[in-house]
């Protein structure tokens, strides 16, 4: 064992702290659970690993709780570091891996539980939401371990699982992810948990998830409106409009609310404000208060280099008078978009509020099919200001402000929660829905 005079840089400490706090806010850790690790190149040219200390509170990390390890040899930090350090070290040895993270992704863990006699190999997790399928793949391995925490068996299998998948599930425990950066690792954890939340919520609504999975596996394009943009790792610090101080503040406020209110997983979704010639665009709308995401000023006219997400914003602006747009991947809405009323053959084409405020704020929330044409999409946005696209997230528009447009997905979440809660209790939603919703 060698002893080195490690020095923790302010930037990396801030990142660990911010992601630690954010993971608590997003409820994918308990007070002391999980761990995060990154591989960095030291001044001497050697790789080293920074990993959270065992038993540390991820929501309040001290500098002393970031442990330094050599990537190739064990340093004294090993004795303080996470009990799952061996797993992280092996994950970080995978080519291209720069960070790893373990989190208690409860929604995904619950969605992958089974009651089979053990030992048994659990079924893979099949995401039914576009975010999950884009970023996790069409399946995620789930493994049962006799000792499901820090065991040699885990150290042997999990890195193998992650060689060709970004995430893997330890049944009843949580998720490990492999990523290029710690920010991406957190992103993947959030997406994974979100995928679990969609499945769990769909089951609460008596959606036949297994049948749906088969349909999606057979023909993904028919069930997913489109796949989200690829995740980028090198542009989070970018802000193209620092001089627009008032608007900037609105972006940060709205972004924090999207994240904290779980309207879209970390660094997913998008939002924008249009000017006359420009669009101020946040391609990663969900941003915790102390974790920045890119903020772009782009020409309003379409460009060949536009991503699918950005192109959708520009299309809406080109065809309407709206000034603000928000797109969120709201798990409750995604799950609800597959809802069938008991006895109905067809999936419902609307979400009807049954709560007091939702009832008066919204007549209905339209649910559009994945292959909705542009004209119908725009018309429904005009009429209702917010729509759910099955396999495409929640789209909302506003005439004036980001705050205005933020209100819509936030309301949709509450509307869905009330309906799901009522349905779980065996209440008859049709009886609860206002008559006026029939004329929509």
């Amino acid at each position: 064992m060698t002893r080195r005079a490690w020095t923790l840089g302010e930037e990396i400490l801030t990142l660990f702290r911010s992601i630690g706090r954010a993971s608590l806010l997003y409820d994918i850790q308990d007070s002391h659970s999980g761990n995060m690790a990154v591989k960095i190149r030291g001044a001497d040219g050697a790789d080293m690993i920074l990993i959270t200390a065992t038993g540390s509170q991820k929501g309040d990390l001290d500098p002393s709780q970031i442990c330094f390890l050599s990537a190739t040899e064990t340093d004294y930090g090993y004795y303080k570091a996470s009990s799952e350090t061996d797993i992280h070290q092996r994950i970080l040895a995978i080519p291209g891996a720069g960070a790893s993270m373990h989190a208690h992704t409860k929604d995904l863990s619950i969605a992958t539980m089974d009651d089979l006699p053990k030992p048994a190999q659990p079924a893979d997790f099949i995401p039914i939401d576009p975010l999950g399928r884009k970023h996790l793949g069409d399946h995620v391995h789930v493994d049962w371990f006799a000792v499901p925490s820090g065991s040699p068996e885990m150290a042997a299998l999990i890195p193998k699982r992650l060689e060709d998948h970004p995430a893997t599930v330890i049944q009843g425990h949580g998720t490990f992810v492999r990523a290029r950066t710690l920010t991406e690792a957190f992103f993947l954890q959030c997406v994974a948990n979100n995928a679990g939340a969609v499945v769990r919520t769909a089951r609460k609504l008596k959606v036949d998830v297994e049948a749906l999975r088969l349909e999606i596996q057979a023909d993904p394009a028919a069930h997913l409106a489109y796949l989200p943009d690829a995740f980028t790792i090198d542009d989070d610090a970018c802000c193209d409009f620092p001089e627009e101080t008032e608007i900037l503040r609105e972006f940060h406020k709205a972004g924090a609310r999207v994240f904290e209110s779980r309207l879209s997983p970390f660094q997913t979704g998008s939002m924008s404000v249009r000017g006359v010639h420009d669009i101020l665009y946040a391609p990663k709308a969900s941003m915790p208060r102390d974790l920045r995401s890119p903020l772009r000023r782009l020409p309003l006219r379409p460009a060949e280099t536009d991503t699918g997400e950005l192109a959708r914003h520009k299309l809406i602006y080109a065809e309407t008078d709206f000034q603000t747009i928000m797109h969120c991947w709201l798990p409750e809405a995604e799950a609800h978009s597959h809802f069938r009323y008991p006895g109905d053959e067809a999936v419902s084409d609307r979400i009807v509020p049954v709560d007091a405020e939702g009832t008066f704020m919204y007549l209905v929330i339209p649910v559009l099919p994945p292959d909705v044409d542009e004209e119908s999409f725009l018309k429904k946005l005009h009429e209702y200001k917010v729509v759910v696209v099955r396999g495409g997230g929640v789209w909302a528009v506003g005439h004036q402000s980001l705050s205005e447009v933020l209100h819509h997905p936030s309301s949709v979440r509450e509307i869905c929660l009330y309906r799901i809660g009522a349905f779980e209790q065996g209440l008859d939603l049709r009886k609860m829905e206002p008559k006026k919703a029939k004329k929509w």
Binding site: E244, E246, I247, E250, V273, R274, G275, V276, H277, D278, L280, T320, D321, Q323, F360, M361, L363, L378, K379, H382, E383, Y384, K385, G398, H399, Q400, S401, S403, E404, L406, H407, P434, K435, K436, A437, K438, K439
Partner: protein, 620 residues
């Protein structure tokens, strides 16, 4: 031409005062589909009927008043009428809206719109009821104020069949360029000088009476919009509490908080709190308020019925003062005397002059006086100083009668200041006096004043102050050059919709177009989806602009007075003004979002895209 849709009677009255002829014309359903009612319909009928180059006070000017399909239903606040004419004050479109009950009763007479042309040889009034349209001599009414005229024409009827009268006072008769047309005594078509146009036509009053009912196509759809609208009106703090408890004057201290409350002809926005407290909505409620009330079908109830007890034991009763009146006849004139403002307000209401333009003109005269710029004007008795509260009431009376100094004030602040060689001291856009929100405290409001079709009007230009302070979820940055053009376009469009529906601007504090869309579609059975409503809003905005361009307005008219670009005010510790460059950028961007060319002219392609047909009877 097809049968009248639900929500309309399908009839337009056209009266030519020159010959005293009246005829009833069918209302083209296509016009309703494209222009809705109220402001939209009136603007189209006006555009088709008038020569934009006409003398606003000549016989060729045309006055159009239109109702909307919601009038006659239970839709909240839906009793407002809208009047369009060429303004004698501004030379561009005069477009003005009023509460009260006249609009509802006019519709109940079985008509959708009224077009008035020509000029009577001598004073006349018009009597309208189902099956009856008469042009009658008005010698006995000429010279009477609005209250007396209203009483004269509406008394003596059985309860339930009482008619309503729309009339002018001496202000209109004497062609004060900002004279109003009033109904229910104190509710007025206030801005742009419609009263003077009536006066120029020798038209004193229009009485309406009727009990005709409109048919609703789909009551369930209508009801769903109605329920939502009413619920939201009862939720929003402004509509459920502020306006009822404090009236619009409840804004005095709130607008001061955001440094928008003008002082001494907009020289600054600095006031002593104790001064404002003497004239706040709270003080009005505690001291002079007798009761709050609302217009027909209004659940908001912002009307202030007040009384002033004189030192000599006398008592005066009336309505007001409203926020704009309090500020423009108050702090903007350096006056913080509630009794003086209120009594002057009473006189303005009775005699029929706009309190905003009157206050703004007096403030301008005061600054000219303090700067020693009044020469020959002094000989007319005009020699004012800021704070001259004792002069206010007399100035209002003299202005309405064009007596002494009043003859100069009757021309508005721009002509007065120009006469003194300092047009820059007139706080106007297109010669219309600014309302009581300093544009330096909100770029959005600034652009609204600049681009309002009728000149500096917060109601036609976009009520941006609601976004600056009461926007709720819609609150936007106040100093964003990027957001202001689209924000104000959208605010203006909301105003066009409300004016075309015959509903109150304050409903916008509670909800947008969605409930209206359902009510309107329910009433008419026509496609008035939000998308269609936005088309109509944009169509009306460009038609108004087209008229203004044809009347001679240019991009140079879309500008604030130099003071706002040269002299900063302090907002939240920072100096703020609307520089020429900022104005230029916002103006350019605004034209662009409207689809107008760089000079602010609607392009031929836009007119085709919006299906704005050439003036009736004229090739494009």
């Amino acid at each position: 031409m097809s049968a009248a849709p639900f929500g309309f009677f399908g009839k337009i009255i056209e009266i030519d005062l020159t010959g005293g002829d009246a005829r009833v014309l069918p209302l083209d359903t296509a016009l309703v589909a494209d222009y809705l009612g109220g402001r939209g319909l009136a603007t189209r009928l006006f555009y088709d009927a008038v020569d934009p180059q006409c003398d606003p006070l000549g016989p060729d000017n045309v006055v159009v008043i239109a109702a909307s399909p919601l009038i006659g239903t239970t839709a909240p606040t839906s009793a407002r009428g809208h009047m369009v004419f060429k303004s004698p004050l501004t030379g561009v479109i005069g477009t003005s809206n009023s509460g009260g009950g006249w609009g509802h009763t006019f519709k109940s007479a079985g008509y959708d719109a009224l077009v008035i042309k020509g000029k009577a040889d001598s004073p006349v009034w018009i009597d309208i009821a189902p099956g009856k349209i008469e042009v009658l001599p008005a010698h006995h009414l000429w010279g009477q104020d609005i209250h007396a005229t209203n009483d004269e024409l509406t008394s003596g009827f059985e309860a339930g069949s009482r008619p309503r009268a729309l009339c002018i006072g001496p202000g209109g008769e004497n062609l004060v360029l900002y004279a109003v047309v009033g109904n229910d005594k104190n509710r007025v078509y206030g801005r742009c000088g419609g009263g003077a146009v009536w006066g120029s036509k020798n038209l004193k009053a229009i009485r309406v009476q009727g009990k005709e009912k409109i048919q609703i196509h789909d009551k369930e759809r209508y009801q769903s919009g109605y329920d939502q609208a009413l619920y939201l009106l009862r939720q929003a703090p402004v509509t459920k509490r502020l306006m009822r408890e404090l009236g619009t004057a409840g804004l005095v201290e709130l607008i001061n908080v955001i440094n928008m409350l003008p002082h001494r002809n907009f020289q600054d926005c600095t006031h002593r709190p104790e001064d404002l407290e003497r004239m706040s909505g709270e003080t009005i409620a505690k001291t002079i308020l007798e009761k709050a009330a609302g217009c027909y079908l209004c659940p908001i109830g912002c009307q202030r019925h007040t009384r002033i007890d004189g030192d000599d034991g006398s008592t005066q009763r009336g309505e007001g003062p409203e926020y704009e009146t309090v500020v423009l006849m108050g702090p903007d004139c350096g006056i913080y005397d509630l009794a003086a403002i209120t009594t002057a307000n009473y006189r303005c209401n009775e005699l029929g002059i706009d309190t905003i333009s009157f206050g703004g003109t007096v403030a301008c005269a005061m600054e000219l006086g303090e700067r020693g710029l009044l020469g020959a004007e002094k000989e007319g008795g005009l020699d004012l100083r800021f704070g001259a509260a004792a002069e206010l009431e007399k100035l209002a009376v003299d202005t309405a009668h064009r007596r002494g100094a009043g003859a100069l004030l009757a021309e508005g602040s721009y002509r007065l200041a120009e006469r003194c060689g300092r047009a820059d001291l007139s706080m106007t856009v297109k010669k219309l006096e600014l309302p009581a929100y300093d544009p330096r405290a909100s770029f959005t409001q600034a652009l609204g004043y600049m681009t309002s079709p009728s000149g500096a009007c917060h109601l036609r230009g976009g009520y941006a102050v609601s976004l600056a302070f009461f926007g709720g979820t819609k609150e936007i940055p106040r100093f964003s050059l990027l957001q202001s053009p689209i924000a104000i376009r959208n605010m203006q469009n909301t105003g066009i919709l409300q004016d075309s529906l015959g509903v109150c601007r304050f409903t916008g504090y509670a909800f947008g177009s969605d409930p209206w869309s359902r009510m309107l579609t329910g009433v008419t059975g026509m496609d008035f989806s939000v998308f269609r409503l936005e088309e109509i809003e944009n169509r009306v905005a460009s038609l108004e602009r087209l008229f203004n361009v044809e009347a001679g307005a240019t991009a140079a008219d879309d500008a604030l007075p130099p003071r706002f670009a040269e002299t900063p005010i302090v907002v939240a510790g920072e100096e703020k003004m609307v520089s020429e460059q900022a104005q230029e950028r916002m103006r350019r961007d605004y034209y662009s979002v409207r689809g107008w060319d760089s000079e602010g002219r609607p392009t031929r392609a836009l007119l085709e895209d919006l299906a704005i047909a050439p003036r009736a009877g004229r090739a494009s």
